[in-house]
Amino acid sequence: MTALLKLEGLTKAYPGVVANDDVSFEIRKGEVHALLGENGAGKSTLVKMIYGLVKPDRGQMEFDGVPFAPVEPRAARATGVAMVFQHFSLFEALDVAENVALGMENPPSQRELAARIREVSEAYGLPLDPHRTVGDLSAGERQRVEIIRCLLQDPKLLIMDEPTSVLTPQEVEILFQTLRKLQSEGTSILYISHKLEEIRALCDGATVLRLGKVVGRCDPREKSAAELAEMMVGSKLQPPIRDAHEPGDVVLEVSNLSQASHSAFGTALKDISFTVRAGEVLGIGGVAGNGQDELLSALSGESPAARHAVKIGGEEIGHMGPNQRRQIAVLAAPEERLGHAAAPGMSLTENALLTGAVRQGLTKNGFLKWGDTRAFAELIIKEFDVRTPGPENAARSLSGGNLQKFVIGREVLQRPEVLVVNQPTWGVDASAAAAIRQSILDLAEAGAAIVVISQDLDELMEISDRFAALNEGRMSKPQPARGLTMEEIGLMMGGAHDMEVAS
């Protein structure tokens, strides 16, 4: 097979960091090529160059044997490159057909377009109603909109940036069927993911990036997931360990928790009941936007619930606010690091004070104890290996992974009896993620009751004792995590959301 896209010596530097350093590889016609690498390895910058969003400093590209240097996405699309974005590039208030039309050069009339959307979406097993508002769609359906938008342009190369992070296992399977069908029609696919099993199942070739450089090429079907991970990280990974132990008494009890969401496109919680015992980790999975944020708010006290809905050790605390809950050792770490878990413009010392003031005794008569606060911040930095010059640095100056270690460490070090975390390792590289998981397990070992909300099923399987899933604001009955199959998990998560397999 001949090369469809050939990259030679692509280099792109930003102030202070070289995102891509002399990157070369090629994608053949009809190949599914994986681009592997940790966060910050330069995958996103590379595909942005191919899609014309970023101009390379040096290097050339060739598409179908012709020099290729797109100045804007329009030019890339005209050449035959289409892209499905990691963070959906959709417009929630617009309907499906309008969203598709915005991604096309010369869209036909809305009526004709609606008909073509129906036709193509059915041909690929991704049914879609062109007139629905995107804000009302599930994550899986939103991704279909993006894919259909690409397919309508008959692309020769389809770039997919982390397409499966928001899908249920069944939806992933359907996506793969669609991609294989495309491949059999001669479309090349550049597939970016850090989910190694997926890449082994789908891709014919892989290029591994580390710190902006190509560090390896391989056929992923011939490598094990562990070998691929080693190529990505550059060293062996230590899986988290835990000693088997019997959980203690019930600490956290949630009964019939129902609550409306505070945001317009949010999901209301519906009649949620579960218990968590001392020393136990309850993992809560589910596709994003099914009530995860709302559940965290209800447990942290940000949006107080009915008094009897949340009990700690038999005591009703549903009505309490976050600081009252901190007083009785109920702590939480929300998903969004900048702006929710941490104030971006404030120093790490100040951020340590924000949640630590109550339990660490960092204030006296309304005055701040800066010395103690600084010492607390330094302790977090030391214990959790946060890479920063010092606690006086602003939260926003830290990389995502480092800040995540800081916000998790800040809660863990306050010795919680109940800890609720949402997406503890979101956007964190593999070694830091392992460290965070280990700290959560250590905390459970010490007798805390822990709720981990996450979209990373592998992570949940690794650390939870019991597993439950959120689907449209309802929670499935928690099951022992050991021995659950992917299929069972998928069904708990709400199955395939009425998708069908491509014929």
Binding site: T45, L53, V54, F91, E92, A93, L102
Partner: protein, 310 residues
């Protein structure tokens, strides 16, 4: 008190005139906000348009030329806001407030030699027979051309936003500027064009005050009309048809209030004068109380600065 002196037909005809300045300004601001930009400088742009239009009309003797220059003046001033917020990424709220203060000062300076002069006469529709039809004649067929232009603009903006590709792109930029950028649309350029359109509309609205409604120049003559226009956009939940409705409602209350005063209603004049603003506030409170619905229609990127991250 003699309420019978209030003639409903005349009331409707004059409310259309009273409402036209805020209708024009609010329509322009709605387009700006649909593109995701919050320009609080409507008042400043209106009064700048008012003085530009008045000066040009007086010097040239042509109200048409006056209106054109008013639109240009408003657009020029709004582009100052555009450059500050879109290229230098200044805060939109602070910059908008600054624009209002700047516009008030600038217009006072420009208009110094023009106080007390009368504006040239504006062409008014007067079709024999048709304009004399009872009831319909005065309401529909005897206005100045700007009233009809403003109504045409309502229809144009509505259809443009709903049915054209340019309108869809504009809405997309206001809805999610990052996604629009990722698809290759020029967010800053589109927003600048929307801002200039909003400025031009505000300028026209201002000139309508100084050339037709009053018609002469006094300092600070817009007297808060720009703020009402801003509130109207929210009141209308970013829909052109409702902007028209809101503007006429507001114009109606203003005119009724004047008529009631003339008829000698025994309420202190101050209450009547504040009534339009009071009612606007009440309506805004009622609409905002319905949180989910009002929020659903607001452009999601409204007031957020856009900076291409790559």
């Amino acid at each position: 008190m003699d309420l019978s002196s209030i003639n409903p037909v005349f009331l409707i005809a004059s409310l259309m005139v009273a409402a036209t300045p805020i209708l024009l300004a609010a329509l322009g601001e709605m387009v700006v906000e649909k593109a995701g930009v919050l320009n609080l400088g409507v008042e400043g742009m209106m009064i700048t348009g008012a003085v530009c239009g008045f000066i040009v009309a007086v010097e040239s003797g042509s109200p048409t030329l006056g209106f054109i220059c008013a639109a240009l003046g408003g657009a020029l001033l709004s582009l100052l806001f555009g450059v500050l917020t879109q290229f230098l990424l200044s805060n939109q709220v602070a910059t908008g407030l600054g624009l209002t203060l700047f516009g008030l000062g600038l217009s006072a300076l420009m208009g110094q030699g023009y106080i007390g002069i009368k504006a040239p006469e504006v062409f008014r529709l007067d079709i024999p027979v048709i304009s004399d039809i009872p009831v319909l004649g005065p309401i529909l067929f005897s206005h100045d051309l700007m009233v009809y232009l403003s109504l045409a603009l309502v229809a144009g903006v509505w259809a443009g936003l709903k049915y054209t590709r340019a309108g869809m792109i504009l809405r997309a930029v206001g809805e999610n500027h990052d996604a629009a950028h990722a698809l290759g649309y020029k967010v800053v350029r589109i927003r600048l064009m929307a801002i200039a359109f909003g400025g031009a509309c505000a300028g026209l609205g201002g000139a309508y005050l100084s050339l037709i409604r009053v018609p002469q120049w006094t300092e600070g003559m817009t007297a808060g009309a720009g703020w009402i226009a801003l509130a109207l956009v929210v009141f209308a939940s970013w829909k052109a048809g409702r902007v028209l409705l809101g503007a006429y409602l507001f114009g109606g209350i203003t005119v009724l209030q004047l008529n009631l005063q003339a008829a000698g209603v025994a309420i202190p004049v101050e209450y009547l004068s504040m009534s339009p603003y009071l009612i606007t506030i009440i309506v805004l409170v009622i609409i905002s109380a319905d949180k989910s619905r009002a929020a659903l229609n607001a452009p999601a990127s409204l007031g957020r600065s856009f900076h291409a991250s790559n």
